[in-house]
């Protein structure tokens, strides 16, 4: 088994809610409420969940775009949240992020070549003379034509902009990339192109991905392991084949059965969850899922289920398992 590249230990991230004329803190949104997992070198760990479950916050706190509330993240055994800013800056090129929205994540006044190359210059990793060649090389790897280098972002389609976003991350020669819903805003035919590109790059460069998504069919295609989040906690985590073949948590089962499958002859028992996701500012007591769980018992309303290994690295937090 390969060594862990990222280790996340009991990570918490709370956002204060302010109110009143003095803007005092009147509560917290517990966006991430104690998650623990590791990401091995060269694998793709996917984080799935619905909006507001804290999956993007996990991604950003891991690379310390947000400061943690509690817990720690280790990159190759270096505690990221204990580093000084100057030490962290040296590590930054190794950990990159690709955003969901390729329309708002690029500076509209910056030529694409400059947008891709600026981080290299900033970190002093290249001389000005070599920069253009390096940018063109990276653009070609990402499927962009060299003559695009002097164009502005508005001249590109969504899929091409996402390629620019990937090139920006890739040029720094990172080891770890957080992909935050990188294909969610793209059309199906373009989505497939970007997924293939990401998988090719991983194979060529031995990259490690944290893939954040709400689309389970894409997750099944790209992942090595999958973690399912609900209201700030991981409710189930397992190797991809195991999770899709034997989902144990009722939430995972419901999520899987809710995905529409393009086969009109398929008849499935569908689990339709009732109600909405509760507010993360005021999560339910006990198991956070009990308000929507079709199988909830008394114990679920009172006690927080333990997150335990049920064998073979399949973790689940449910009283009924």
């Amino acid at each position: 088994m390969s060594e862990p590249l990222i280790e996340v230990k009991n990570l918490k991230k709370y956002f204060p809610i302010r109110g009143g004329i003095l803007q005092r803190t009147i509560g917290y949104v517990k966006a991430v409420d104690g998650v623990t997992f590791t990401i091995n070198k060269g694998e793709t760990l996917s984080l799935v969940g619905e909006s507001g479950c804290g999956k993007s916050t996990v991604g950003r706190t891991i690379i310390r775009l947000y400061d943690k509330t509690d817990g720690e993240v280790f990159y190759k055994s270096i505690p990221i949240h204990s580093l000084k800013k100057s030490e962290l800056r040296k590590l930054r090129p190794k950990m990159q992020l690709v955003f969901q929205d390729p329309f708002s994540s690029l500076n509209p006044r910056l030529r694409v070549g400059d947008a891709i190359g600026e981080a290299l210059l900033d970190h002093g990793l290249i001389s000005k003379n070599e920069l253009r060649d390096k940018v063109i090389e990276t653009m070609e790897i990402c499927g962009l034509a060299p003559y695009h280098i002097d164009r502005y972002p508005h001249e590109f389609s969504g899929g091409q902009r996402q390629r620019i976003g990937i090139a920006r991350a890739l040029i720094l020669d990172p080891e770890f990339i957080v992909l935050d819903e990188p294909v969610s805003s793209l059309d199906v035919s373009i989505q497939a192109q970007i997924i293939n590109l990401l998988m090719d790059l991983q194979e060529q460069k031995g990259l490690t991905y944290l893939f954040i998504s709400h689309d389970l069919s894409v997750v099944e295609h790209i992942s090595t392991r999958v973690a399912v989040m609900y209201l700030g906690s991981i409710v189930e985590m397992a190797a991809r084949d195991e999770l899709f073949a034997h989902p144990l948590h009722p939430y995972t089962q419901a999520l899987l059965s809710a995905v529409p499958i393009p086969d009109p002859d398929l008849k499935r028992e569908r689990i339709i969850l009732e109600g909405d996701i509760p507010s993360p500012a005021n999560p339910p007591k006990g198991c956070k899922f009990h308000t929507r769980c079709p199988l909830a018992k008394d114990i679920c309303r009172e006690q927080v289920p333990e997150y335990k290994d049920v064998g073979g690295g399949h973790f689940v937090a449910c009283h009924l398992v």
């Binding site: 059309d187 199906v188 099944e220 295609h221 529409p260 969850l273 909405d276």
Partner: protein, 327 residues
């Protein structure tokens, strides 16, 4: 067989922009029968929403203009009606729900006022009658505590609830047709499952026709009776749902079906359609898919293929099937 409720006949809706003419809907013909669910599928910019907005006569002019064709709704040509006549159809005989439940409700009116308005305008109900009917509608779309919801404002509800309210408003006047433009795209999967379930149930109860616009082939397989596939402003294929998924003909439809990863069907590498959707300005007289098509022949780059049906009524616009039509 049920009779046609809506017939699009050679509809052309163009937009006149500074860069040139965008033929958003370019000679589109298809029909929707009473009580039938027809899904319009395609990628962004293919003209699926503009087709629906043309039926509602909600094309903003300028820059948009319906340049030709007919839309027959229940025996009348929609495009020939006066604005006053059209207003009696909109929200009354045809209901519509949109993708964004966040922006399609008025934030300063209560939910109750918004559901009651069409009832009082179209059905000439008194305030009291409309109130009671609104409560009944809220219960029908599966929201508990109806009385409390009536006096709430949109910001107090979640996305899924707001979409249910939109459905309640659209249903208020018992429309013959409900247009749903990407009704679940902004929602989470578990909420999407709830809304699709609701639409299916309501449609059955009321024998209402549903025109559902989506880019998700999974949703199509689940809810459609009949499917229309659009590409760059044209219908390129249409067929009953089973036939389309079993036997897709157009290389674009086939590509779409292959490019989407499917749960439980693992593949090494996803199929991709090369290139991207063409710039809608200044398209010439050739198959618009020809530059992305792996089967493209000389004729594809010279002439626009016309939609033609095989013996099963499966229609496709592609030169590959030219031989079959002649038989």
């Amino acid at each position: 067989m049920a009779k046609n409720l809506v017939e699009f006949r050679n509809l052309k809706t163009f937009f006149y922009t500074e860069e040139g003419v965008v033929k958003a809907v370019n000679d589109v013909s298809f029909s929707i029968r009473e009580g039938e669910t027809v899904c319009i599928v395609g990628e962004s910019g293919c003209g699926k929403s503009v087709t629906a907005l043309s039926l509602m006569r909600l094309i903003q002019s300028p820059p948009g203009k319906i340049e030709g064709g007919e839309i027959i709704f229940d025996g009348r040509d929609i495009l020939k009606l006066s604005e006053a006549e059209m207003r009696r159809i909109r929200g009354n005989e045809i209901g519509m729900i949109f993708q964004e439940p966040m922006t399609s409700l008025n934030p300063v009116l209560t939910i109750g006022e918004q559901i009651m308005e069409p009832l009082m305008v179209h059905k000439l109900m008194t305030k009291k009658e409309a109130w009671n009917k609104a409560i009944e509608l809220i219960k029908q779309v599966g929201i508990p505590r109806a009385e409390q919801i009536m006096t709430s404002y949109p910001h107090e509800l979640s996305g899924g609830m707001r979409q249910r309210i939109m459905i309640a408003i659209a249903l208020s006047c018992d429309p013959k047709l409900l247009i749903a433009d990407e009704p679940t795209t902004a929602l989470d999967v578990t909420i999407q499952a709830q809304i699709l379930d609701l639409l299916r149930k309501i449609k059955q109860e009321r024998n209402m026709a549903l025109m559902l616009i989506t880019h998700d082939l999974g949703i199509v397989a689940e809810i459609a009776d009949y499917v229309v596939v659009m590409y760059a402003g044209k219908v390129i294929e249409e067929a009953p749902v089973r036939e389309l998924f079993k036997n897709p003909k157009h290389p674009y439809t086939r590509g779409l079906l292959k490019a989407k990863p499917i749960i439980g069907q693992r593949q090494e590498r996803l199929y991709t359609i090369p290139g991207q959707v063409p710039n809608p300005i200044g398209l010439g007289d050739y198959c618009y898919f020809s530059d992305r098509c792996e089967y493209a022949m000389d004729i594809c780059r010279q002439k626009i293929p016309q939609l033609a049906a095989d013996e099963n009524g499966h229609k496709v616009a592609c030169w590959l099937y030219e031989g079959e039509w002649k038989k």
